[in-house]
């Protein structure tokens, strides 16, 4: 059922993207790639999404690891991780303006301590977009990794330590490889969600920090140019799959390897 809906949706997008005034054609795609500003938006979308994914991994993995090893009320910690989901993304994003804006808490603190001469520009640029995306999407990464770490057979780590491997060696050769399926799933989720982000780039980006999804949003809801928006959506889907498919293949390979079944 879900697959049918997905395929029907993509099919509709393809048909819409090929519609021109003179019958089916690739005009919408050609017009997209002829415009240097749109190509720049596409490249920025990929870069920002990759950066948000990397930062989410760096922040999210240690948190997931710490929760999985916590001996107390683990459910409470998991609740803390997903609590931001209970607040509207718009409200959460506006919160960053209060904290990181030119007149925000952090700049006021640094100025009052005499550490800076003028406000630092931490939002309304690419940095702001990445901070916002990581804040919104890092729980997805944490939950993905945590799900794997919680099901990890601890006897394997104990066996490693009994064979004289220290905690670092055990982590690098046992825990990390076994948790890779969760890392890959989390990375895919964060990357895909980042490529489709609208609110965060709109509110935390600068004049030249638009992303492809915000452009699509504008063309659908404000300009009503559906064929153009559909062609951009197809480009976005291709961009998303160009990373997700290799990652899925890698995930399958890693999963087969850690389960000792090898790769067919």
């Amino acid at each position: 059922m879900l697959v049918t809906l997905f395929v029907t949706g993509i099919g509709y997008l393809v048909v819409e993207s090929l519609s021109t005034g003179d019958g089916p054609g690739l005009d919408n795609f050609m017009r997209f790639f002829e415009r240097a500003d749109y190509v720049a938006v596409l490249i920025r979308t990929i870069l920002v999404s990759l950066l948000a994914t990397l930062v989410s991994a760096i922040i999210g993995y240690p948190i997931a690891y710490a929760i999985s090893r916590y001996r107390g009320n683990r459910n409470f910690l998991m609740m803390l991780v997903i609590t931001p989901w209970l607040v509207s993304v718009v409200v959460r994003t506006y919160g960053w303006l209060v904290i990181l804006g030119p007149r925000g808490t952090l700049n006021s603190l640094l100025l009052s301590m005499g550490l800076i001469d003028g406000p630092l520009r931490m939002i309304f640029n690419m940095t702001g977009v990445v901070i916002g995306l990581v804040h919104v999407f890092v729980p997805f990464f944490i939950v993905s990794v945590l799900a794997v770490l919680l099901h990890l057979d601890r006897a394997l780590e104990e066996a490693s330590q009994m064979l004289c491997a220290g905690p670092l060696r055990t982590f690098l050769y046992v825990t990390w490889p076994l948790s890779l399926p969760g890392v890959i799933t989390g990375a895919m989720l964060v990357y895909l969600l980042s490529t489709g982000a609208i609110v965060t780039p709109l509110l935390l980006g600068g004049v030249r920090d638009g992303m492809l999804a915000t452009q699509i949003y504008q063309d659908v809801l404000q300009v009503f140019d559906y064929p153009k928006a559909a062609s951009m959506a197809i480009v976005l889907v291709i961009v998303a799959f160009s990373l997700v498919i290799p990652l899925q293949l890698l995930e399958r390979r890693v999963a087969a390897r850690v389960s000792g079944k090898g790769v067919k």
Binding site: E34, R35, A36, D37, A40, V41, Y94, L97, V98, G101, P102, R103, R121, F124, L202, L203, G205, G206, V207, R208, Q218, L221, Q222, V223, F224, D225
Partner: protein
Amino acid sequence: MNTRIAKWKLAAALATFCITGQANEITMATWGGGVGAAWREAYAKPFTGETGIPVKIVEVPTPEAQIRAQKDDPKFNAAISSLFEAAQMHKDGLLEDFDMKDFPALADVPEKYLLKTPEGRLIGVSTYFAYYGIAVNTDLAKPDDFSSWKALADPKWSGKLSVTRPVYSSAYDLTIMAVANGGNEKTPEKGLELLTALAKNSLAMYSSMAQMNQLLQRSEVAAAPYYSTRVWQMKRDGQNNVEMVIPKEGALMLPYMVVVPKNAKGRDVYMKWLNYVAQPDGQVRIADVAGYLPLNGKAKLSDRAAKELGMPLLELRDSLYQPDWQYIADNRKARIEMVERSMAGTGR
């Protein structure tokens, strides 16, 4: 189980009823952000009181998007619209048009604020206006600093201004900036350099009124081209550090009108509604509750509204620049592309 199914059926029926406009009532789409509430207070309640016809005001992000989405089966029989949106929608066959004779009160509205087809048919009823000038945060700048639109290009304001998205700046900013440089809406290239300089000086590109209000209220930006009604509302809410400036080259007139989607239900009731919004009474009330100003020349502002305005209503109305919105609508996509390319810093 049957009871549960019956409940679901009842809920579905109620939902359908709530969305679908009835032939004997007005279901009108308005923007959010206080516009819907103002319409209920200024127009809907008194109209229902006088005629007994129920009016349902539905706040949506973009009334135009609703009309386009419901092209074959309109759920609304009225919607608020700017003139350039209405011109585009009518061109696309989405709106009803009318005979001027059906609206005697429009005789008191100057011809240039009415939108008509080439055949002279009326596209909706113009009811009130706002204007597009420069909103200034007086903690960071003096109103006199922005006595000209050209001041927005001064590098001393780098990182201290804001600009709206190309979809709106291509219609509003580009037009009034072309005027400031001796051109008009038909010579947008005359305003492009100034708009690009404003974008370079801008800390952020605002995408909603709430965002721009926050930037001004928190003193994050010193100034931005903005809507008079928003500044009026901020001041009414006690925000004393925001002022609206009409630069010496003038401000842009933004008339608003009520339009009727093509094949909308209930012609009898929506004709009464359109006639009602053309009258001065409702226009005077909405000036009191939301700062929109009457287009009907017979409207007399309340003492409070007149004091807040600070100048005679007709003097203000007639000093504002009224472009050819039909021309702007006809060239909408080309103008947006021009602004997008320019703001991105590419001429390709």
